[in-house]
């Protein structure tokens, strides 16, 4: 059994450090557990947007910030779906789960199977996902008297979130020490005894490393090792642009561009582009040109901020060593076409808290923790690498590098072979990352259906009628939902009134 934390030291004054402090504070009361956060705020923080799940709302509500309030403060909008453009002939969506989908999921499973059996069917799985239907109509996830829950996330401005979290930390007994780490001291067992920051010595029973890729604590632990995540096309650069925008979408759009892909997030009054590309295939100035052209094609003009940084995918082999835990990018970074950074952090802390409550032997608990956390990364990476490997884009040397399906991760490989053999997909999903339907959406969206001679289905007329009927139903359900724009505007309006 592990001891209940009494003295926690967190290194890294950034969103992950603050979230760690607050999530721990939510569980451990100040009278029992002291929490100190050490670090200097990065000067000139680059623009960044995060995708956050409902757990962020739960945390902030716990500290007294309603959804509308914190969303306003962090320029946040809703996210219902991720639309993939340019990876194959058809664009496709990977939508958040909705309880509405339960009613027609059997039809989706049956038809996707028939199409894999070479039946000629006009089928787009997008039609089966209610959250995608909402997002395509630019609706919010909020409705009155609509008893089906539709899962949604938030698109959040990272810098605004930082400011808000910092304020909450100050109000809730988190000691912050604006200082930089100089050395750390381990005992003979390799346990972290204390750290030294400028002229202060900070001890602790648990240390959290939130120093991102610097990995200042975990990187110095005795058994530290780092694994690279097998990447097919290594995107080592991220170019970000923030532009002024008037209307806001309730989806993230991921567009394949030459030599990489662009993630497009929508914030209140702004739109944020992140171009992940490989410097092996494209020089930075050309990447800028390419992204700017893409941005202007979307109709955006007014650039507010831009930034270029390096990026690399990795994963530490043991996120928790002795009394030191790596949280956030210090633990690992997947080069996602979807962003799971915050959801990993929430999952790590949730897992940490439940580990502390576990009656099992400390060693086993830590081992189990490491296994679970790593599985999350591997699962997220599997999805991303499947998209990267199995798409049908071939218009640049980057996309023409050999497509070797054997390079898929074991999860990706097993699912793809199930898909090809016409079976129902089965995998232990990490639900807050991507459920099973996301894999259906992916394989189907990338067009992995038999080609050549297709068989007409004897009931094709009835099948198309069924699909049409389902689309009519989803469209009808959409009528209950408020538009995304109006909901965001309401939030702003409310904030103004409160401010007055």
């Amino acid at each position: 059994m592990l001891p209940i934390p009494q003295n926690i030291t967190i290194v890294g004054l950034n969103v992950h450090g603050l979230l760690t402090a607050l999530l721990l504070r939510k569980t451990y009361k100040p009278a029992v557990t002291g929490i100190t956060l050490v670090g200097l705020k990065e000067e000139d923080s680059p623009p960044k947007a995060y995708i956050a799940g409902k757990t962020l709302n739960t945390l902030l509500e716990h500290f007294g910030y309603s959804e509308a309030n914190w969303m306003r403060q962090t320029q946040a909008t809703f996210k219902l779906s991720n639309r993939y453009v340019g990876f194959s002939e058809q664009e496709f969506s990977v939508a958040n789960a909705s309880e509405v989908d339960i009613l027609h999921q059997p039809l989706m499973l049956e038809l996707s199977k028939l199409k894999r059996q070479a039946y000629q069917l006009d089928l787009s799985l997008d039609d089966f996902f209610f959250a995608a239907a909402l997002a395509k109509r630019n609706l919010s996830p909020k409705a009155q008297d609509f008893p089906f829950e539709t899962d949604y996330q938030y698109q959040v401005d990272a810098n605004c979130l930082f400011t808000l979290l910092q304020k909450i930390a100050a109000e809730h007994s988190i000691t912050t020490l604006p200082s930089t780490l100089e050395t750390l001291q381990l005992d003979q067992h390799g346990t972290l005894k204390h750290i030294e920051c400028e002229d202060q010595i900070l001890s602790g029973d648990y240390f959290f490393d939130c120093t991102q890729s610097a990995q200042l604590l975990i990187g110095n632990m005795p058994d530290f090792r780092q694994e690279t995540l097998p990447e097919v096309r290594i995107n080592d650069r991220v170019l970000t642009y923030t532009l002024a925008a008037e209307c806001c979408a309730s989806e993230v759009v991921t567009t394949a561009l030459d030599c990489g892909f662009v993630l497009q997030y929508t914030l209140q009054d702004a739109v944020h582009f992140q171009y992940h590309y490989s410097s092996k295939f494209i020089q930075d100035p050309q990447a800028v040109q390419l992204l700017e052209r893409h941005i202007s094609q979307q109709g955006y003009k007014k650039v507010l901020q831009r930034h270029l940084s390096a990026s690399q995918a990795y994963l530490v082999s043991q996120p928790w060593i002795h009394n030191c835990l790596a949280v956030g990018p210090a633990c690992g970074l997947t080069q996602g076409s979807e962003d799971h950074e915050l959801s990993h952090t929430f999952a790590m802390l949730e897992q940490f808290v439940s580990s502390i409550q576990s009656p099992d032997d400390a060693k086993d608990v830590i081992k189990n923790y490491n296994h679970r956390i790593k599985s999350r990364f591997v699962y997220a990476h599997s999805y991303h690498s499947t998209l990267q490997l199995l798409n049908s884009r071939r218009n640049s040397p980057y996309w023409q590098t050999p497509q070797d399906a054997n390079a898929l991760t074991p999860i990706g490989r097993s699912l793809f072979s199930q898909w090809l053999s016409g079976e129902d997909l089965s995998v232990e999903p990490v639900l807050d990352i991507n459920g099973l339907t996301a894999w259906y959406a992916l394989f189907s969206g990338l067009g992995h259906y038999p080609t050549g001679e297709l068989k007409p289905h004897p009931k094709s007329r009835a099948i198309q009628d069924n699909i049409q009927d389902m689309c009519r139903k989803l469209a009808g359900c959409c009528l209950n939902f408020q538009t995304h724009d109006s909901l965001i505007a309401e939030g702003k309006h409310h904030a103004n009134i409160t401010a007055v």
């Binding site: 008297d145 008893p147 139903k473 009808g476 209950n480």
Partner: protein, 506 residues
């Protein structure tokens, strides 16, 4: 596939609901053929005049005829029907009543939870396994709402209607006449057969001989052609279904119109209460072996709180069916073919399905005469009768009233092998839906939910031995969530009276 019709002239005998249903359907479906259809009805022999509750198949039937609800419903004082509430069929105070709904797509949503609690209840856990709370139609009925799917809440919802049977016959008669059906008022008192036994002609009381190459027998319980003339054997259900009589009366409407049928168990049978836009139709179906018509009338009068002067109508009925519905050149539709008893209001379902299946059998016949599917047709019909009979019979078998010899007798006969298997499966807490599928029962009118609603709604469970707290949390169903779901869903549906008014206006 038939390119031409094997019949040139069809005579339908009987101008009750079954006769006009048959006339309309045959005229509509075979409108492109050179076919003469004539309906003959007697003014000396009346129609039965009851038959106001229906099942959802009637909706599809009207759709096939191309008749819209806004046209026929106001003309027949029709109302919407979400299902039937059964009251006092159980002596257990927790199961005083339950609702048998028509299918709603939204019920699938918590079906698993309902099934799970049924299983747990069988294992002695005191969980909520009464069907009402899981079902949307039950909530709609409770709130007197119409089961019409709104555009913004477009989930499939099956429903049926209540209507005035006499007005419906008149409405269909008008339609049939528009569709070139001819009508003759005459009483048939002789039927002539050919050497092979098939019907050659019918002779009216005035001596007119009317020939045809095909006859549809809609002569009611008389079964003039199928039973009396062709002497097709009759399978009686009287051993298992005791009721043979009914006493009926109409009463005033209430301020708002319910959207369900009420079926209340009385001392020697049960009473229906069917809402129309202008009145209620009421009837007490009972067994004359256990109660005299006078006593039944008196009990029913008290049940309805009517004065002594109230005028009741008495009917006799015969339960069972002819072994074949289509024999030689005669198709029987309606009471002349068979009748299971009015519980669950299935008679018009049989009538419409019979004529629909007949047209399809002839259209798809591989011989020129149109008879190649006759055996299959008859087998299907018999199967339908026996499946529906089993379900109706289960109502009686599963009752737990101890107050009169009637109710004890009603549950003391031996069920069919299939029904026995279903009951055993239920008592063992195993999967009834699986057995229903294996026995192909669920292909018929009553699906899984209907069977489970009946058994769970009548409280056919062992005594509870454990409280719900004895269950692991993960297995406890959040009934509040289900209640919220059902209530919130119901908000989207229109009030029954508003829906009826909108129909009238349109």
């Amino acid at each position: 596939m038939q390119t031409s019709l094997p019949f040139k002239k069809i005579i339908i005998i009987g101008g009750g609901t079954a006769g006009w249903i048959s006339a309309c359907y045959l005229a509509k479906m075979w409108q492109d053929y050179d076919l003469e259809i004539k309906i003959i009805e007697s003014d000396a022999i009346g129609t039965i005049g009851v038959g106001e509750g229906t099942t959802p198949s009637i909706k599809g039937f009207f759709e096939q005829l191309g008749i819209e609800a806004k046209e026929w419903m106001p003309a027949c004082n029709a109302t919407y029907k979400t299902g039937i509430r059964f009251v006092n069929w159980s002596s257990d105070p927790n199961y005083k009543s339950y609702f048998h709904p028509f299918y709603s797509q939204l019920d699938e949503y918590f079906q698993h939870e309902f099934f799970q609690n049924i299983q747990l209840k069988h294992r002695g856990f005191d969980v909520h396994a009464h069907p009402d709370q899981y079902l949307l139609a039950s909530e709609l009925a409770q709130q007197r709402k119409a089961p019409i799917e709104p555009e913004h809440y477009p989930f499939d919802m099956a429903y049926a209607y209540h209507f005035d049977a006499t007005l419906l016959a008149q409405f269909l008669k008008k339609k049939a006449l528009q569709w070139n059906v001819t009508h003759q008022v005459a009483t048939i008192n002789e039927v002539k057969q050919k050497d092979d036994g098939s019907i050659a002609s019918v002779v009216t009381e005035s001596g007119e001989t009317i020939e045809a190459d095909f006859f549809v027998d809609c002569s009611g319980f008389r079964s003039l052609l199928l039973g009396k003339t062709l002497k097709v054997p009759y399978n009686s259900f009287a051993d298992s279904l005791l009721n043979d009589s009914a006493v009926t009366i109409v009463t005033e409407r209430e301020d708002t119109t319910p959207s369900m049928t009420l079926s209340t168990a009385l001392s020697c049978g049960w009473a229906w209460r069917i809402p129309l836009t202008n009145r209620f139709g009421n009837g007490y179906v009972f067994s004359s072996r256990f109660q005299s018509p006078q006593d039944a009338e008196e009990e029913f009068r008290r049940h309805l709180a009517l004065p002594e002067s109230a005028q009741f109508n008495h009917l006799k009925m015969r339960v069972g069916h002819f072994a074949k519905g289509w024999e030689k050149n005669v198709l029987a539709v309606g009471l002349s073919q068979g009748f299971i008893e009015p519980l669950e209001a299935t008679a018009l379902h049989f009538a419409t399905q019979s004529v629909v299946d007949f047209v399809s059998a002839v259209d798809n016949s591989t011989d020129q005469a149109g008879y190649s599917n006759q055996t299959a047709y008859n087998n299907k019909l018999s199967d339908r009768f026996s499946c529906v009979r089993d379900y109706i019979e289960l109502h009686y078998l599963a009752n737990s009233r101890h107050d009169t010899p009637y109710w004890k007798a009603a549950r003391s006969h031996t069920p069919s092998r299939r029904l026995q298997r279903i009951l055993t499966t239920w008592h063992q807490g195993k999967s009834v839906p699986r057995v229903l599928d294996e026995e192909a029962v669920s292909l018929q009118l009553f699906g899984h939910e209907s069977w489970l609603c009946l058994l769970a709604g009548k409280g056919v469970f062992p005594e509870s031995e454990h409280t719900i707290d004895a269950l692991p949390t993960a297995m406890r169903i959040d009934m509040q969530k289900i209640k919220h779901f059902v209530e919130t869903s119901a908000k989207h549906y229109p009030l029954h009276d508003d829906a009826l008014a909108a129909l009238k206006q349109s």
